[in-house]
C-alpha cells in the first residue's frame, strides 16, 4: 500500500499550499457575499425604492431561509412591486455567519441605500444586523430570530421582531412538559438561541420543582447525535427539551428514532419550523412543539389564507411557517412605508409602531416599548398517522388564550430588559 500513496504528477502540494488554499477559499467565502448578488426586481426602472433582505444563501439555516425569502418576495409581488407609486425592488444578500450578516447589512445601507431591512435567520445573525440598523438608523424587522436579547437588553429603536421570544415559547410549552414528568434533560444548541432556551427552561424548572437530570450544549452542524442520545438514555429523563434548530433538529430526530428512543421518552421543543419536520419523514417524526403558524390552521385570517393559496400556486407546495414569517415581516415593513408615505426612517419606525393586523380577537402589532410583535403560538404534536407528506401536525391549542394571559406571557414594560434610547 505504500506505493499507492505516491501521487502521479508531482509532490508539490504541501501543508503550506493546502493551508494557503484553504485560507484563500475561506477568504473567498467571506468575499463571495459581496460579489455578484442578484437584484430581485426590475433593475431597469428609474429610481426604485429598495428594500434589503438578508437571508442565508449558504450554511446550516439555508433550508429555512429559502422559505423566508420566498415569503418576503411574495409580499412585494402582491403589491405589483410598487411602493408609494414607485417601482420597488428587493436586494437579497447572504448571511454566511454573524460577521457576514453585519457586512452585508452595512452594504445594503451604504451601497444600496435601502429603506429598510428584513432578515436574520439565526439569532446571532439578527443581533449583528440589528446593531447595524441602530447605527445607520434604518428600520429592521427580525422575522425569524427568537433569542430574547433582540427585543430585550440589545433592543433598539430601529429593530422590530416578529417571532415571539424564547421566554414566551417556554411559558406556553413548559406546562405541557411538566404534565409529562418532573425529570427533564436539556439538549440545546451552543449559540444564542439554544443558550436562551436552556436558561429559560432552567428558570421554569427551578420555579416549579422540576429536576434537570442532564443538560448538553450541542455544536451547530453536529452530524451525529448518537453519543448525546446514549447519555440521555442513561439519564432516564421523563422528557427531553430540545433547543436545536433547522437541519440539526431534523438530523437529531432521525437518529432519535434510529436508536429506538421515539415513543419511549417524549421530546419537546419550542419554535420548530415545518421544514425541519418535513425532512424527518413520517416514520421518524415525533414530538410536542410550539409553532408560530400553520397553513392548515382554520383560524388563519383571510389575508393569510390568501397568501398561503398564492404561495402554493406559485411554488407548488404548501406555505411553511417560515414563508409566512418572511411574508409578514416584509408586509409589516412595506405597509409601514406606505402608511408613513415616506421612506424617512423615523417616519417608518413610527408607522411600524402603529402597524397591526387582526388575528382572530387579537390585534397583533409591535409593542412600542420593545418593538416585539404580540401574537399567539400553536401547540402542535405529530399526528399518529401521517398520510399527507406536508401535513404532520395536530394543533392542540392556540395560546395564550386571554389578553391577560398574553400580557403575562410577553411580560410588561416593567419586566422588560429593553431600555430603548429615544
Amino acid at each position: 500500500m505504500t506505493d499507492a500513496r505516491k501521487p502521479i504528477i508531482n509532490r508539490s502540494i504541501g501543508r503550506r499550499s493546502l493551508l494557503l488554499g484553504a485560507g484563500s477559499l475561506g477568504a473567498a467565502g467571506l468575499i463571495a457575499p459581496k460579489l455578484g448578488m442578484p437584484y430581485i426586481g426590475n433593475a431597469a426602472a428609474a429610481e426604485p425604492i429598495k428594500i434589503g433582505m438578508i437571508w442565508a444563501k449558504t450554511g446550516n439555516i439555508v433550508d429555512q431561509a429559502e422559505y423566508l425569502a420566498q415569503g418576503g418576495m411574495l409580499a412585494l409581488e402582491q403589491r405589483n412591486n410598487t411602493l408609494l407609486g414607485r417601482p420597488a425592488e428587493i436586494v437579497w444578500l447572504d448571511e454566511p455567519n454573524p460577521q457576514g450578516a453585519q457586512q452585508n447589512a452595512e452594504r445594503l445601507v451604504g451601497e444600496h441605500k435601502v429603506a429598510g431591512i428584513v432578515g436574520g435567520a439565526l439569532s446571532s445573525f439578527a443581533l449583528a444586523i440589528s446593531s447595524v440598523a441602530n447605527k445607520a438608523k434604518v428600520p429592521y424587522v427580525a422575522a425569524n430570530a427568537a433569542a430574547g436579547e433582540i427585543t430585550g437588553k440589545s433592543c433598539n429603536r430601529y429593530t422590530f421582531r416578529l417571532q415571539p421570544p424564547v421566554d414566551v415559547h417556554t411559558r406556553v410549552l413548559a406546562p405541557y412538559c411538566k404534565d409529562v414528568g418532573k425529570k427533564w434533560y436539556l439538549l440545546t444548541a451552543a449559540y444564542a438561541f439554544g443558550q436562551d432556551i436552556k436558561r429559560s427552561f432552567e428558570e421554569y424548572a427551578k420555579a416549579n420543582g422540576i429536576t434537570i437530570v442532564g443538560a448538553d450544549e450541542v455544536p451547530v452542524g453536529t452530524p451525529d447525535y448518537s453519543s448525546f442520545i446514549l447519555k440521555i438514555r442513561a439519564a432516564k429523563p421523563d422528557v427531553v427539551i430540545g433547543g436545536i434548530s433547522a437541519s440539526d433538529l431534523t438530523t437529531f430526530l432521525k437518529q432519535w428514532n434510529e436508536l429506538g428512543m421515539r415513543g419511549k421518552i417524549p421530546f419537546a421543543e419550542i419554535s420548530v419550523g415545518n421544514t425541519d419536520i418535513w425532512g424527518v419523514g413520517p416514520e421518524a417524526a415525533d414530538g410536542l412543539y410550539t409553532i408560530t403558524w400553520y397553513y392548515k390552521n382554520p383560524n388563519n385570517p383571510p389575508e393569510e389564507q390568501a397568501m398561503a393559496a398564492a404561495y402554493e400556486k406559485k411554488y407548488n407546495r404548501p406555505a411553511a411557517d417560515k414563508a409566512w414569517m418572511g411574508w409578514l415581516g416584509m408586509k409589516s415593513l412595506l405597509d409601514s412605508i406606505e402608511a408613513a408615505n415616506s421612506t424617512d426612517s423615523a417616519a417608518v419606525v413610527s408607522a411600524l409602531e402603529k402597524w397591526h393586523v387582526k388575528r382572530g380577537d387579537l390585534d397583533s402589532g409591535y409593542r412600542s416599548f420593545d418593538h416585539q410583535l404580540v401574537s399567539r403560538l400553536l401547540i402542535a404534536s405529530i399526528k399518529p398517522k401521517i398520510t399527507d407528506k406536508w401535513d404532520y401536525f395536530d394543533i392542540k391549542a392556540e395560546l395564550p388564550k386571554s389578553q391577560a394571559d398574553i400580557d403575562a406571557a410577553f411580560g410588561s414594560q416593567a419586566d422588560s430588559a429593553c431600555k430603548m434610547a429615544g
Binding site: M1, D3, A4, R5, K6, P7, I8, I9, R11, S12, G14, R15, L18, L20, G21, A22, S24, L25, G59, N60, V62, D63, E66, Y67, A190, D216, E217, V218, P219, V220, G221, T222, P223, D224, S226, S227, F228, L230, K231, R233, A234, S247, D248, T250, T251, K254, E258, L259, G260, T275, D276, W278, G279, V280, G281, P282, E283, A284, A320, K389
Partner: protein, 289 residues
C-alpha cells in the same frame, strides 16, 4: 461510568467507520492523482440524492446503484475538468474543485429545493441490539460491515489485480507507464471515479442518519479533511486509523465535555501535527522535519 465509557467507545468506533468511508475517497484521489478535491462533499451529497430518487422511484434496493452513478459522474467530471489540472499549480485544483462543490450544491438546490427531504433505512435494518451497556442499531452495524467490506475490496483490488498494479505504477511514474502503451488518462478517470464512488457510497449510507439537503456536503467535507490530514496526506491506512480516532475522540468529548464536541477533532489534529507534522502515516516532508 465505566459502562458509559465502554458504550461511547463502541459508538465512537462505529461513527469512526462512517467518517473513514467519507474520508477514504478523498485520500485515494489525493494519494494517486495529487488532487485535493474540495468537491468531495458534493459527491457525498450527490450519492445521497441519487439514493433518495432511486429508492423513491424503484424501491430501496435500487438505491444501491447510487454509488455507481456517483462514480460515473466523477469520471465525467475528471474527463472534462480535473484532467486539465495534472501538473498545474495546486491552487488551481483547490479553486476549481471548490467552485465545483458550489455548482453541485446549486444544481441540487434547483432540482430538489432547499428543504430537507425524508429518507429512511429499509425496514429490515430497523431495530437495535444490546450487549450490556452497549447499544448498537442494526443499521449502524450494516454501515460498519459495508465500510469494512469496501475498504478490504479496494485494498485487494489495488494490491493483487493487474489494473491495481497499473494504478500504483502510474502513480509512481506516469511517463514510463504511458510509454508501455497503457492508456493512462482512462486509468486516471477510473481512479477519480472510484474516489467519487466511495463518496457516493458514504452519502447513501449516511442519508438515513443525516439530513438530506443540498448543504449536507458541509457536514462531510470538514471531518474528511481533518481525517486525511491526521492520517497523513494520501495514506490509505492513515485515513482508516484517523477516522476511528476522530470517532472515539468525538464520542468521549460528548460524554465529558459536550460543548467542546465540535472542536475536539480539530484539537486532535493540532496535537498530532505538532508532534508529527506529516500526520500519522504521511511521508516525510524535508521542509518540516
Amino acid at each position: 461510568m465505566l459502562d458509559m465509557i465502554l458504550s461511547q467507545t463502541v459508538n465512537g468506533l462505529v461513527l469512526g467507520f462512517l467518517y473513514v468511508l467519507i474520508a477514504v475517497g478523498l485520500s485515494i484521489i489525493f494519494g494517486l492523482l495529487g488532487i485535493v478535491n474540495f468537491a468531495h462533499g458534493a459527491f457525498f451529497a450527490l450519492g445521497a440524492y441519487f439514493a433518495l430518487v432511486l429508492a423513491r422511484e424503484f424501491g430501496w434496493w435500487a438505491a444501491l446503484l447510487a454509488p455507481l452513478l456517483t462514480g460515473v459522474v466523477g469520471m465525467i467530471v475528471e474527463a472534462v475538468l480535473i484532467r486539465h489540472l495534472y501538473g498545474k499549480e495546486p491552487l488551481l485544483g483547490l479553486i476549481l474543485t471548490f467552485a465545483l462543490a458550489l455548482l453541485v450544491e446549486a444544481i441540487l438546490r434547483m432540482a430538489f429545493g432547499g428543504a430537507p427531504l425524508p429518507f429512511s433505512a429499509p425496514r429490515f435494518l430497523s431495530g437495535f441490539v444490546e450487549y450490556g451497556p452497549i447499544l448498537l442499531t442494526k443499521y449502524r452495524l450494516f454501515v460498519l460491515g459495508v465500510t469494512v467490506a469496501a475498504l478490504v475490496a479496494f485494498w485487494v483490488f489495488l494490491t493483487y489485480t493487474p489494473f491495481g498494479r497499473i494504478i500504483r505504477a502510474g502513480s509512481r511514474d506516469a511517463e514510463m507507464v504511458g510509454l508501455l502503451g497503457i492508456n493512462l488518462p482512462v486509468v486516471f478517470s477510473f481512479v477519480f471515479g472510484i474516489g467519487c464512488l466511495l463518496a457516493g457510497l458514504a452519502g447513501l449510507l449516511a442519508a438515513p442518519l443525516w439530513t438530506v439537503t443540498p448543504s449536507m456536503a458541509a457536514s462531510a467535507i470538514m471531518p474528511a479533511f481533518v481525517i486525511v490530514t491526521i492520517g497523513g496526506l494520501g495514506s490509505y491506512a492513515g485515513a482508516i486509523i484517523a477516522g476511528l480516532l476522530v470517532g472515539i475522540t468525538t464520542a468521549m468529548t460528548i460524554q465529558f465535555q459536550p460543548e467542546w464536541a465540535g472542536a475536539a477533532m480539530y484539537v486532535l489534529m493540532a496535537a498530532i501535527l505538532l508532534v508529527r507534522p506529516r500526520g500519522l502515516f504521511g511521508e516525510k516532508w524535508e521542509r518540516f522535519e
